[in-house]
């Protein structure tokens, strides 16, 4: 199976007598997007947008052992010989370069919903989604509303000198909306999102907007801090994702060493499992393979608090002598986590953190954080009594580790609207902010 671009690229590479091995993915995509801005559909900043595109991403191992990584843009397909010569001229010697893999059995997660695919041409539903966010938010009293709904259908081909010959098609849709600049909700999925799904998301954003109208005094010092599932997922992704990245481990930039994984060192709370999932049906991070033909899979990076494997592509897996994990969605898996609302009900006094500012600017190395929180809900006697701003500081490894008896102090929760997101409650340090 293939298309003329795939065939021509394969043929041109095979003509060369200085290529030892190669692998490439060819991706073509078709996109439709609609948006809204300033409380109205479309406009010059969020216009209905149509786009088709394609490119190939190539990895070549040359006879002399050097390698090349290259992207082939559409216009280059009319002169592939020149493009390949340029790759050769720019090849480099990387002692850690991985060989091209042999073909494997690839699991095939379900990634194509015909109803999503149909939205490319019959995109009225995307506008309906925007209108649903608009109507719910306006009914809730919000005015400054912006958002976007989109569909993207991708065809991916995999070929290699070692015999890989695979293909998959993925149709994904996503939508989000914000009111008053900060109260937002959204979802990305590989299944059709109904207006009922969207209504629940929009209503949550409105509920937060309404709570924000009630100013509550924020505590100072140590208190119960619940990181909502959304913010906790961002936190863990930012800090722990860096330290679990294979390249960071291999090059000694992570606090974890390769032997820590081999020994399954206990780092985190025993209830915490961190997963890289590239294989579950109808999830945005799922794919049968990555750009080098590493199979998608379900990998426990941390299991019951113990290190298992870094996130490894072909190169870093080869360097560390471990099986590569490929790519996927990164999330926490905590059986027994309670719904967020239940955790709030069981909290006498504390705060729920719903939105950070500038998390991406923090230094990941030690795990320290000092972040402004622009949406914090004050909890008293099990109820949310109002909203405010504060700063939150601490260290994520201290929060989630076995140190100082934390095993008893960390509780986990989940969000029924986004079941993969896991939050947690700790004793944390806060200070009110202007």
């Amino acid at each position: 199976m293939g298309n003329r671009f795939v065939t021509s690229l394969e043929k041109e590479i095979q003509k060369r007598n200085d290529v030892k091995d190669w692998v490439f993915t060819f991706s073509s995509s078709d996109n439709m997007e609609v948006g809204m801005e300033n409380g109205q559909l479309a406009g010059p900043y969020k216009p209905p947008t149509v786009r088709k595109g394609f490119q190939a991403d190539v990895y070549v191992v040359w006879e002399d052992g050097s390698v090349s990584d290259a992207t082939v843009e559409p216009h280059q397909f009319s002169n592939l010989d020149a493009a390949i010569s340029e790759w050769r001229a720019n090849s480099y010697t990387d002692p850690d370069a991985a060989p091209v893999r042999q073909p494997e059995e690839y699991q095939k997660p379900k990634l194509f919903d015909p109803k999503v695919n149909a939205l490319l041409t019959d995109y009225g539903h995307l506008f309906d989604v925007m209108n649903k966010y608009l109507s719910v938010m306006k009914d809730g009293g919000a005015e400054n509303i912006e958002g976007r709904a989109s569909v993207k259908v991708t065809d991916v081909f995999l070929r290699s000198s070692t015999g890989m010959d695979e293909h998959y098609k993925k149709a994904s849709m996503s939508s989000f909306a914000f009111c008053e600049g900060q109260f937002g909700e959204g979802d990305g999925t590989v299944k059709f999102s109904s207006l009922d799904d969207v209504e629940k998301l929009a209503q949550r954003a409105v509920d937060f907007y309404k709570i924000d109208q009630i100013e509550a005094e924020m505590p100072t010092g140590m208190t119960n801090v619940i990181l909502s599932p959304d913010t906790a997922t961002q936190f863990m992704d930012f800090y722990l994702g860096e330290h679990l990245h294979g390249g960071m481990v291999a090059e000694k930039k992570s606090k974890f060493k390769p032997e820590d994984f081999k020994k399954e060192k206990q780092i985190f709370h025993p209830n915490l499992t961190l997963v890289l999932d590239g294989i579950t049906d109808y999830e945005t991070g799922s794919a049968p393979f990555d750009g080098h033909g590493v199979p998608g899979g379900y990998h426990e990076l941390v299991k019951n608090g113990k290190l298992q494997t870094p996130i490894l592509n072909s190169k870093w897996g080869n360097k560390l002598g471990m099986n590569p994990t490929g790519t996927g969605d990164f999330y926490a898996h905590v059986p027994g986590a309670t719904p967020l609302d239940d955790m709030i009900s069981n909290t006498d006094d504390g705060v729920v953190i719903h939105q950070f500012l500038g998390l991406h600017t923090q230094s990941y190395e030690k795990g320290d954080y000092s972040v402004p929180v622009t949406i914090a809900h004050r909890v008293k006697n099990g109820e949310v009594v109002g909203s405010g701003k504060l700063s939150l500081s601490g260290n994520i490894f201290d929060d989630l580790s076995m140190k100082k008896g934390n095993a008893q102090q960390v509780e986990f929760c989940y969000d029924p609207l986004h079941p993969r997101d896991v939050g947690y409650k700790i004793i944390g340090k806060v200070q009110p902010m202007a």
């Binding site: 947008t49 216009h75 720019n90 600017t361």
Partner: protein
């Protein structure tokens, strides 16, 4: 220019737009990008990317619009795209309360061409030579300390644009940029810390012998010394402090705390807006302060034209402390209540143009005129300068953040923050008069921070702090800066601290 080759495609788009009865803003991009990466002495990446395409924003007479893009620039594909854009724009009216904007019809035609001549052009570049120069610098740093983990990258872009419009406008220009990054990580026991340098320019000049290479080396040396001290640094208790800011901090602070809030697409809903428009005439800062945005030769963000083919102007949007203008593009200047000053930018041809900053600076019209340069002063020398200027007369400490790592703002909410890898505390009453603390944030209220008394030190502005600004899913490369130092008074509106 390379974009001249697409004349047939541009004319086809213009002609088809006329047939379809829409006004088209046609954006053709031809972008060369070179990326070289090294990690601990080993090559990681070396490639040239050649991105090319056309984006078309189409507007009906009654203001319906759509955007389409293609990588294929033959006339058949382009005509087909224009038709699709026209159909999509008209069809959008069936779906509800659609925003209509036909401001673009009011523009006047323009013909302009601004090629840029570089000493090290990508068109003639040999990546192996650039790699070799970067590797030399990389190895020199590794020689300083065998236990360093070092990540070095060089990126250079030669982004050419042709903006054509249905009214016959043809504007062609180049946006060149380059950046050298050296990121160091060092461990001491269980503690790992990082520091780094980012040096921006137009081409590979910083890689070759000369003043810029020497300056980059000075910055790297400073960063390494800072990193070594950082390993033992505690966290600064959070609080309100008087501060002395170097240009990258004053610049990022201006960018985050003020610049975004004054972009015309959002100003009506930001804390600098009122009744749906920019709150012109409002006193928002001290009387000695101007805030300016506009092209500066040699700096990132030096854009002479917008992505709608409108000349980009230098805008003083805060003058003597008073808000007098916004950063406006053609679509929302009148919504903001200001005039068009060419602020529309798009990262690539497939993106819509939105108001963005270019080179933003905060200026104290009463700056103290002394000859100082932050990259050539030690923290101890900064302390002495502050003492001589009488800044410790109240006996309170002053903080100086080091190595900004970025920032974020919520203009509607009025909050901003940014982060640094370390922060010095200058304390005349302290056991250590100059003490380094670890990573810290600096954030608070936009309006509160703006109204805080500021004092510039050094007349000449330093504007070479370049970086990538993210907004609405697009990145724009921008620069910012200020005087060599800017003193920010202590205020409850701004909090510094790491714990």
């Amino acid at each position: 220019m390379r974009v001249d080759a697409y004349e047939n495609a541009v004319e086809a788009a213009r002609d088809e737009a006329a047939k379809q009865g829409i006004y088209a803003v046609i954006r053709v991009e031809d972008n060369l990008e070179a990326i070289i990466g090294l990690l601990n002495g080993k090559p990681q990446q070396k490639e040239i990317l050649r991105l090319r395409g056309m984006g078309i924003s189409g507007f009906t007479e009654d203001g319906l619009c759509a955007l389409g893009s293609t990588d294929i620039l033959d006339t058949r594909t382009v005509r087909s795209l224009v038709k699709r854009v026209a159909e999509t724009a008209r069809k959008s009216a069936e779906y509800g309360d659609v925003q209509r904007n036909n401001e673009v019809y009011k523009l006047s035609p323009l013909q302009a061409e601004e090629p840029v001549h570089l000493q090290y052009s990508l068109e003639a570049a040999d990546l192996s030579v650039l790699e070799s120069q970067l590797m030399q610098a990389h190895q020199n740093i590794r020689e300083m300390d065998k236990k360093l983990s070092l990540d070095s990258t060089y990126m250079q872009n030669d982004q050419q644009w042709w903006i054509a419009r249905s009214d016959g406008t043809d504007v062609k220009f180049t946006i060149p940029m380059s950046v050298v990054r050296h990121t160091m990580t060092k461990a001491k026991g269980d503690v790992t810390r990082g520091s780094g340098v980012r040096h921006v320019a137009y081409d590979a000049t910083p890689l070759f012998p000369g003043h810029e290479k020497d300056f980059l080396e000075q910055k790297v040396n400073n960063s390494y010394k800072f990193l070594v001290k950082l390993l033992d640094a505690e966290l600064l208790p959070a609080g309100h402090y008087k501060a002395i800011l170097t240009p990258n901090f004053s610049g990022v602070y201006t960018h985050e705390a003020v610049g975004h809030a004054i972009e015309s697409d959002g100003v009506s809903n930001s804390v600098l807006g009122k009744d749906g428009k920019a709150n012109l005439g409002e006193k928002v800062a001290q009387a000695n302060i101007d805030v300016i945005d506009g092209p500066v030769e040699g700096m990132w963000g030096n854009l002479k034209y917008s992505m709608n083919g409108v000349p980009r102007q230098t805008v003083t949007f805060i003058k003597n402390g008073v808000l007098v203008d916004s950063l406006s593009d053609v679509y929302t200047a009148s919504r903001a209540g200001t005039s068009i000053n060419g602020a529309g930018r798009a990262e690539h041809f497939l993106h819509p143009a939105i108001p963005r900053m270019s080179c933003t600076r905060i200026v104290d019209n009463n700056a103290i005129d002394i000859d100082v340069h932050p990259d050539y002063m030690t923290p101890q020398e900064v302390y002495q300068m502050l003492d001589q200027l009488g800044e410790f007369k109240e006996g309170e400490p002053i903080v100086m953040p080091v190595e900004v790592t970025g920032g974020q703002v919520m203009p509607e909410v009025g909050s901003f923050m940014f982060n640094c890898r370390g922060i010095y505390l200058f304390d005349p009453k302290g056991k250590e008069k100059v003490k380094l603390y670890g990573a810290s944030s600096f954030g608070g209220s936009i309006l509160g921070a703006l109204k805080t008394p500021m004092q510039g030190i050094g007349k000449d502005l330093m504007l070479d702090d370049g970086g990538f600004c993210g907004k609405s899913g697009q990145h724009a490369w921008v620069s910012d800066g200020s005087h060599p130092y800017m003193i920010l008074g202590k205020t409850k509106a701004v909090t510094f601290g790491g714990q």
